[in-house]
Amino acid sequence: MSLGWPAELPRRGAVLLGLAGALLLAVPAFADAYLLSVLTLVLWLAYAGQAWNVMMGFAGQLSLGHTLYVGLAAYVSGVLFVSFGIGPWLGVWLAIVIAAIAGGCIGALGFRFGIRGVYFALLTIAFAEFTRIAFDHFAWVGGSAGFFLPVAQRTTNDLLDLRGTPTMFYYVILALTAGALVVCRALLKSRLGYYWLAIREDQEAAQAVGIDVFRYKLLAVVISAGLTAPAGVFYAFFYNNMYPEQMFAITRSIEIILGAIVGGIGTLFGPVLGAFILTPLGELVTAAVDRAGVNVPGAKQLVYGGLMVLIVVFLPDGIWPWLARRLGLDGADRGPSS
């Protein structure tokens, strides 16, 4: 697993990154409404996958309940907006704090009692599940009937209240995704980042070189959860509706992490690349099935599953490390046995 962004980013890498950025910035100029909505979803998944990757890819702690933080943040910001008139740019901070606290509780509970690996992952599912059940019965936010933001066809953009056209939302999520990339890169190059990698590689060895494993694992969950929260806020304002069985569904948690797994866990660009591969593929499959006029529920999931098998067999580190080597963007001098 290379970091995907070596210390000295080669010139070629900078050029490619610039081109990709320019292309993404130009998209609304030529894309139709459908393409824009697909790309918005792609970027949303890239962002959420990036946030998840902090916990799993960097610190090696598997979360299968990340939708918990999405859901909490969506409800927090939605309720603040509808019931208290507090806009999303303020609300997002409270959402981040609440998601981080939720992550902190799960992490503290799990790590305090030495719960590791798969068992910790089960704990993350359990928390998301019982939060779903709690929200189903939480009448103040609509219970299982859902919670809604006022919807109106907009032609003007109100960035302050995050009410506007699909183009505005596209640029917001593009900025968020780019921001997450910058934040994650900074994290990876910090003391914290190196400590996470050490814990991921070998917890006992990390402790032997003076790393307080409990503290840094807890920080990984807290930061990952906090970083996930803006995805929830975006969701609330973009889709304007939330139902507990969707917001806290395990299928959403899986959707968030699929892109990172396909693209490359622990790499910076893996989650982004994975989202750009998976979502359009899913859309293509759905469209193809529609056109063929056959009714195949779950065709998309079937293709995702097949792709996952291929990745695990042929590129277990994900597509990005392989692609980076192909493009000559891999700075690490690899040994003969690797």
Partner: protein
């Protein structure tokens, strides 16, 4: 010379087994002390008790007068004791330099400072040409030196080395002996080493402690210890002690 590390009546049982029983010894400042004994003598358990990886049932461990029992391994490291693992534990997917950097970050918060220190440590253990290689791609002798470098990078007052020469060829063993001797000579680093390779123990140690079945059976200068009948008996059986009646 004052004692840097002192171990007093340290004991640990695993269910019925007396792994370590009332073991006491000390390591003075700047000295190299060897800890030897047959397999199962309790050497690694003693290390784990000192390093905080295991909690002792009884006894004391002190570093320069400070009590260490009850501290976590990371706190023991912060106190100034660095250890290596018998089965080396590199951060496999990181480069050699980043492996050592993680250790160096312990006392240097800025990544740039820590990296500079890590590079110096890498040179000291003669891993310079391999600095950019992934740790997973290293051969065993290189991994052993990486293990040493990681521990050294935390800037300890004493190094606990658990069989850093096991499995090495004689030339590699000599290289490691050279690295350790230079380290001790240049920096005055105190070292407590568990070792099976006798010629390394003989070449390095100022003092040797012998454990057998969890108890200390002998200690002294290397040349004296190997002539101690109890030591010969525990390694080769009582029949091999010179002058023993078969």
């Amino acid at each position: 010379m004052s004692d840097l590390l002192s171990v007093e009546a340290l004991s640990k049982r695993f269910r019925g087994l007396r792994a370590v029983h009332e073991v006491s010894f000390s390591v003075p400042e700047h000295r190299i002390v060897g800890l030897i004994g047959p397999n199962g003598a309790g050497k690694t358990t003693t290390f784990n008790l000192i390093a905080g990886a295991l909690a002792p049932d009884a006894g004391r461990v002190q570093l320069a007068g400070r009590d260490l029992v009850g501290l976590r391994p990371d706190q023991v490291c912060a106190a100034g004791i660095a250890r290596t693992f018998q089965l080396v534990k590199p951060f496999a997917e990181l480069t050699v330099e980043d492996n050592v950097l993680v250790g160096a970050l312990h006392r240097r918060r800025r990544v740039a400072d820590a990296r500079a220190h890590a590079r110096a440590v890498i040179e000291r253990v003669e891993l310079g040409p391999l600095a950019r290689r992934r740790a997973a791609s290293l051969t065993l002798p290189d991994r052993k030196r990486l293990e040493l470098a990681k521990a050294l990078a935390t800037e300890p007052r004493i190094l606990l080395l658990d069989e850093v020469m096991a499995g090495l060829r004689p030339t590699e063993t000599d290289r490691m002996v050279g690295v350790l001797r230079a380290l001790n000579r240049d920096t005055g680093m105190a070292i407590l080493l568990i070792e099976h390779v006798m010629r390394a123990v003989m070449a390095l140690s100022d003092h040797v402690i012998v454990l057998d079945q969890g108890e200390k059976i002998s200690e002294g200068a290397p040349a004296d210890v190997v002539r101690d009948p109890r030591v010969i008996a525990c390694y080769l059986g009582p029949d091999h002690v010179p002058g023993a009646v078969a």
